[in-house]
């Protein structure tokens, strides 16, 4: 089960990495993290209706000087593919993609999403890390943001239940 403590750790990791704007679409496994974002005063939180909107919002906010992340389920990654390709990748926009890994080994929902998630990220040319160890959460967030800013590309962190 996801816990508020682990959600807080992710939020702290985002802040320490310098993220100051997060767009989001919910998933039950992201509930604690979303609650923490709603309550937080430092990070601008912009819920959107569909994940591809969030890629647009993050792109615009980056151009305006924000360090940005998009929080969603991997179904939302599928919804975002054109925006990621023809906006985020073609412009070269560093966006931290925080993706709940539905259908991961041991997860009983959306097994097809689990099957295609990593191949889709590979196909898009988006570098990613699967997060499985709560002790490494902050380090992996910082590393992902460094990779995103150095390459000026979106970089993904796949959030498994173990870190949520």
């Amino acid at each position: 089960m996801a816990t508020p403590e682990r959600a807080q750790q992710i939020l702290t990791g985002l802040k320490e990495a310098g993220i100051d704007l997060v767009a989001s679409v919910p998933d039950i496994n992201l509930l604690h993290l979303l609650n923490a974002l709603y309550a937080d005063k430092d990070i601008t939180h912009l819920p959107v209706g569909r994940e591809e909107e969030g890629i647009g919002v993050c792109t615009g906010a980056y151009a305006g000087g924000k360090r940005v992340a998009m929080l969603m389920q991997n179904g939302g990654l599928m919804n975002s593919c054109n925006g990621l390709t023809t906006t985020a990748l073609q412009f070269g926009i560093p966006i931290l993609l925080l993706i709940y890994y539905a259908g991961d080994m041991g997860d009983n929902a959306f097994h097809m999403l689990g099957l295609v998630t990593e191949p889709v990220l590979d196909g898009l040319g988006i570098k990613y890390t699967v997060m499985r160890d709560p002790a490494k959460v902050k380090e992996q967030i910082a590393q992902a943001l460094t990779a995103a800013e150095a390459s000026k590309r979106p970089v993904a962190l796949l959030l498994t239940r173990a870190v949520l």
Binding site: L46, G56, V57, G60, Q90, E149
Partner: protein
């Protein structure tokens, strides 16, 4: 009314506002009328309204224009609700409605039915300042109102099909992005395009 004559008519009202424009005639004509590094072209159909929202939230003291199209807005219709939810006061969302996919060969959009009212839809989505314009004069009034009052604003510009004979934007996305962000940096006095510190600067060099 034609889009090009509308653009020429609103140009005198514009100072250093930022423009996020849907690819096609809206971009090429606007960049011909007002060449500026403050123009960003969006190739993803429909995403200009979302990019404009993010930009407006990041720069709340700067007016941000979105030049959308009827086909593009249909593709990302939910963005009206998202703009309505977040209420960016500085966003001016203008939809050039020619009732067709002009860049795709002129196929009809949802607007060709004559049944949809984009201005009513925007208002129903929570964008209180929503107007429609069917004459150049009305459009200029709507833009002046949007520039002088808090928004978010939506303007439904009902235009004739047809693109003026102007060249396409001569920048690819990378050059457009860099020039646009440098322009934001210069006019806002901020630093956006941060580069990670090279490893050799990361610590005091120690001689062997």
């Amino acid at each position: 009314m034609k889009r090009y004559e509308c653009l020429q008519a609103i140009k005198p009202l514009i100072k250093d506002e930022l423009f996020v424009t849907s690819a096609g005639g809206a971009t090429s004509e606007w960049c011909a009328v007002r060449p500026s590094d403050g123009n960003l072209q969006v190739k993803t159909l429909g995403l200009c309204s979302s990019i404009g929202l993010g930009l407006a939230v990041a720069l709340p003291r700067r007016k941000v224009f979105v030049f959308d199209g009827d086909g593009a807005l249909w593709m990302n219709f939910g963005s009206l609700a998202t703009i309505g939810l977040h209420q960016p006061k500085n966003l001016i969302h203008l939809c050039w409605d020619n009732r067709e996919y002009e860049s795709s060969g002129g196929e009809p959009t949802v607007s060709r039915s004559g049944l949809i009212n984009f201005a009513d839809a925007a208002r129903a989505a929570g964008i209180q300042s929503s107007r429609s314009a069917e004459s150049v004069e009305n459009l200029v009034q709507a833009v002046r109102h949007a520039l002088n009052n808090d928004g978010p604003h939506f303007i439904w510009a009902r235009i004739e099909p047809g693109r003026a004979e102007v060249p396409p934007l001569a920048l690819d996305e990378l050059e457009n992005k860099y020039r646009f962000i440098r322009y934001v940096e210069q006019t806002e006095g901020t630093s956006i395009l941060r580069l990670p510190l090279p490893a050799s600067y990361d610590h005091k060099a120690t001689k062997p």
